[in-house]
């Protein structure tokens, strides 16, 4: 364990309409075993004690699985560590005297609500357009009725591991949501249960993605490299393939 001092430049913004700005803070005696969010907790406690408005940031499970935390740290969504959410990033990854810049996700479809909090409801609306298999409760056949190879199950899982945090959008120069959308499409088209609806699904989900104002994918691969769950860009190829097939069959 060691103690470090840091300089922080944090984005502050009162609400959707107002103009944002960077606020500087010096923070001292940070235990290197703290998580990044615990470091922000320390800062907020200080602000509250001094009757100042604490920094609004979202977080919940702090185990890297709920997808709630969302901040760009030194220009990288979720910070410098590969395959890691901001909540799982620990201070031993920083050096004494570092300056750290903290910003919200920057993407037009993700409106900044306050400070580091953005509106990601567009992701829910995309899922509502077909990110499911239409099966009512109680009508399912036995779980072992459809064998699924270990390989397929693994591939479907790899896609399904997406936590819906939005880092892919924040990392993309076009603010494309292709990685998020394609992960769901790939999962459900790999599994036999998802086949009956696959054409309808891909078309309506992609349409909704466009309607929400997300940009196009230009294959730079930034999303894959910043994704905290390391979702593969192969899913985007799979989505495009599904989309083309569906439009041809339409």
């Amino acid at each position: 364990m060691k103690l470090i001092n840091l300089y922080l430049k944090i984005w502050r913004q009162e609400n959707v309409e107002s103009k944002g700005y960077f606020e500087s803070h010096k923070i001292e005696n940070i235990n290197s075993h703290m998580s990044f969010l615990e470091m922000l907790d320390v800062l907020n406690e200080d602000l509250i004690k001094n009757k100042k408005d604490p920094i609004a940031f979202e977080h919940d499970c702090r185990e890297g699985i709920c997808g709630t935390c969302s901040m760009t740290i030194n220009g990288k969504p979720h910070g410098p560590l590969k395959g890691t959410t901001a909540c799982q990033l620990h201070m031993f990854n920083f050096e004494d005297g570092d300056t750290i810049t903290i910003e919200p996700w920057r993407a037009k479809p993700f409106k900044i609500i306050k400070d580091l909090v953005v509106d990601r409801s567009s992701f829910d609306r995309i899922i509502q357009k077909g990110g499911f298999i239409s099966i009512n409760t109680g009508s399912a056949p036995d779980g072992n009725a459809i064998p699924i190879s270990q390989e397929t199950a693994k591939e479907a899982f790899d896609a399904a591991a997406c936590i819906g945090c939005g880092a892919c959008v924040a990392s993309c120069k076009n603010s494309s949501a292709s990685l998020f959308v394609s992960a769901k499409i790939a999962q459900l088209s790999l599994l036999p249960q998802g086949h009956p609806e696959r054409q309808k699904r891909v078309i309506s989900m992609v349409d909704q993605m466009d309607a929400e104002g997300f940009g196009h994918c230009s294959n730079t691969g930034a999303c894959e490299s910043e994704c905290p769950k390391e979702i593969s860009i192969k899913n985007i190829a799979k989505m495009n393939q599904e989309y083309i097939k569906a439009t041809l069959l339409d």
Binding site: M1, N31, H33, E38, D41, E45, I48, K49, K51, K52, P54, H59, D60, C61, R62, E63, G64, I65, C66, T68, G83, Q88, L89, H90, I113, V117, R120, S121, F123, D124, I127, Q128, G131, F132, I133, S134, I135, T137, G138, A140, P141, D142, G143, N144, I146, P147, I148, S149, Q150, A153, K154, A156, F157, A160, A161, Q187, L188, L191, Q193, G194
Partner: protein
Amino acid sequence: MVEKENILNPNIPNGELEKKWTKYRSSLPLVSPANKKKLTVIVVGTGLAGASASASLAEMGYNVKAYCFQDSPRRAHSIAAQGGINAAKNYQNDGDSIYRLFYDTIKGGDYRSREANVYRLAEVSGNIIDQCVAQGVPFAREYGGTLDNRSFGGVQVSRTFYARGQTGQQLLLGAYSALSRQISKKNVIMNTKHEMLDVVVIDGKAKGIITRNLINGNIESHYADAVVLATGGYGNVYYLSTNAMGSNVTALWKAYKKGAMIANPCFTQIHPTCIPVSGEYQSKLTLMSESLRNDGRIWVPKKKNDERKPEDIPEEERDYYLERKYPAFGNLVPRDIASRAAKERCDEGYGVGSTKQAVYLDFRDAINNFGKDVVSARYGNLFDMYSKITDENPYVTPMKIYPAVHYTMGGLWVDYNLMTTLPGLFAIGECNFSDHGANRLGASALMQGLADGYFILPYTIGTYLSNEISNEKFSVDHSQFKLTEEKVKDKLNNLISNNGTQTVESFHKKLGKIMWDFCGMSRNKDDLEKAILLIKDLKEDFWKNVTVPGKLNTINLEVEKAGRVADLIELGEVMMRDALDRNESCGGHFRDEYQTKEGEALRDDEKYNYVSAWEYKGNDNNPKINREKLIFSSVAPTQRSYK
């Protein structure tokens, strides 16, 4: 005059245990499709229980209004469950059956759960797996393409279905997808970023809720014919727990204050395998899945204060204390037993690490036996998580673990229909006092959440709603809505205008320390009596000295937290009272005064074979205890033995 205590009637249907549910389900009053369209159900919380219930009720034709405080239903804390979900499928042909799952759950719960509910849970467990597979949940598979299983603590069969170490995530995303489908069909109106701040009661029945919109601060009224709470557990009363930061007791507590009793509140699960506390700044604890105990071996050095690196300590100088004390189950004893055994070793001075509050969980033998690749395939994501947090490599040096608060078996008392003592208010999932008695077995929380949501509540709610069709309808214009709204606003104003100097967080930490020290892994009369006074003082201190910055008409995370901590403080006192009432040890409730010679929990079936249900009696009065007598017809309670 002493008020007479109520004996609670759980409304268990007659007949043989094995046939109760099937028969009852077929004779439940039905609500016709035309009438379902006229009925609205509010579901608060959209984790496994809430999302599955919302989707299923909507599929059946009811109008559903769902609420969650997160920005999306996909983020509920169910998502963090790692290990798996139990089901009595007997796919492994290892002798599993509905009866065996039922028996294991009753025994695991140390004979403090309701037989009829637990049997029903075991009965529907198989349907859950079918449902989830059909939704596209990518469960682990065998080479031949069939579903894979693993074993979990407290049982000797392999009945746990899993999706790597992220089973909760995959099941929740399944339920979320079913919910999303109903939202798209406009059968469910989804309200994210809404926190329930009260229940509205009209003529003795729950008829709606008051919420705060967490983005703009608006206080809103919502009317319904029935209200379902699926708001999870209250482990955050301990401050440090494996629960998500937002997990809270507020919805449950408001219901309690409106007449829903809280049952067995002191029954808390302390999970044996969590990453130990590293410092004062710590905001939460991270669970390492129980599945690790399948291949990991737990030990401490035989010598106190052994400063050697664990990998340098030779075999004969290690005490594999679980294998020594419980040869039949070894490292796979139930959670309460494993946790207490770790505490015992650390209290005796054999703990490891800088705080001496940790034991080793070692994969050396598993790596030698199966190879690093196999171990990595099974637990790779957990090992990665561990090394990210601790900066240590568990492939080389054993993990350090210590027990942490993980789950609350206690919750709102419900009858067989899952209805609370407030008519029209239902509770499902971890929010109810549930089927787990005094200790929950691993991989049973996901099972219960989904059983309640998919297969039980959507039927049993019909018994209540079928009687509501012809009753008078109200709206949010009713005076009770206005009155309740005003009370909610007053409380928020009190918080924000309180000109104190102490942060909400500082009160939460103080509460957590009292709870952990006096109502944690072991409890005793003197401590509990002392703690009740400490909590009373803390409550007074909170309302006098708390400071809440900012405004009410915007996002204000501090005001959210302040309301939640205020409720947790009150809950803490009731938990202490419950622990004090129960002069026995059972499951996770261990009273120092009541133990066997070997230090195991000593139950008192003569006197304490009941569910305690606490009734709110006003702010200035102590809550009143009511009891539900537990009747065991199929299993004879015995001293649990895992030796």
